[in-house]
Amino acid sequence: MFSSLNNFGGSLFDEFRRLDDELNAASGRWPWPAGIRSVARGTYPQINVGATADQVDIYLFAAGLDPASIDISMQKNLLTVAGERKAPVEKDADYYRKERFDGPFRRVITLPDDVDPDGVEARYRDGVLQIHVQRREATQPRQIVVQ
């Protein structure tokens, strides 16, 4: 059921590249309405969202987080993830670059309508926070008999 750890180039990220092309093409034609809760591209943490028939997976690329500081909540189909990443400035050191984000963050993500707020699991590993959300079983398609 799950693809191997090494199989990341062939499926989901090809989808993301296709999505990238589509988004770029669309934004060239007319102003694409941004989600009212969306944030600027590149904001920490960056997020990917993928879906299968059974679940929706949210990946937050959040290196250096203290798992205890992460607060995940779900209201209907709105998922909120808040936390804080500390990257304090070292004293007695001269900084040449300070690109890494330091401070609190909060992301609100709109998920498909059929997600189950009670079916949420989260795991933090190697700097990626993975959130799995179960989807409610879809109603069976109804066969329509032609008279």
Binding site: M1, F2, S3, S4, L5, N6, F8, G9, G10, S11, L12, F13, E15, F16, R17, R18, L19, D20, R41, G42, P45, Q46, I47, N48, V49, G50, A51, T52, Q55, V56, D57, Y59, F61, A62, A63, G64, L65, A87, E90, D92, A93, D94, Y95, Y96, R97, K98, E99, R100, F101, I109, P112, Y124, D126, G127, V128, Q130
Partner: protein, 134 residues
Amino acid sequence: MTENTTEGKDVTTRENREVQTQEPDSVLRAPVDIFEDTEGITLLADMPGVNKDSLNLQVDKDSLIVEGDARIDMPEGMEALYADVRSTRYRRSFALSGELETDRIDASLKDGVLRVRIPKRAEARPRKIEIRAG
């Protein structure tokens, strides 16, 4: 610090090995903090999804190359709904200078944050210059 730590010797003698079979079109540029104190230079890089096995550090007297592959397990047949991150390969390189003691480089990786510390040669550290009176 001992978990996920790459010993100094391992980093300098490691050969350039392929960390993945497929080459993505674009590369992720990990955000870094770089700071210097009297003893050496420290680099911190955000590389979420990278673990010790998928990290490749190459250092010689002239340059430091940081490469890594983000390894994320995903269910089969997953369809993308939204994506900020569209590649799995990190790569960034830095030119070094002669007073950095690359033989004594130290690297560690925890929760996707890489910490590289390169000490400065003893003779290159700032010395307080005594001022003679008279």
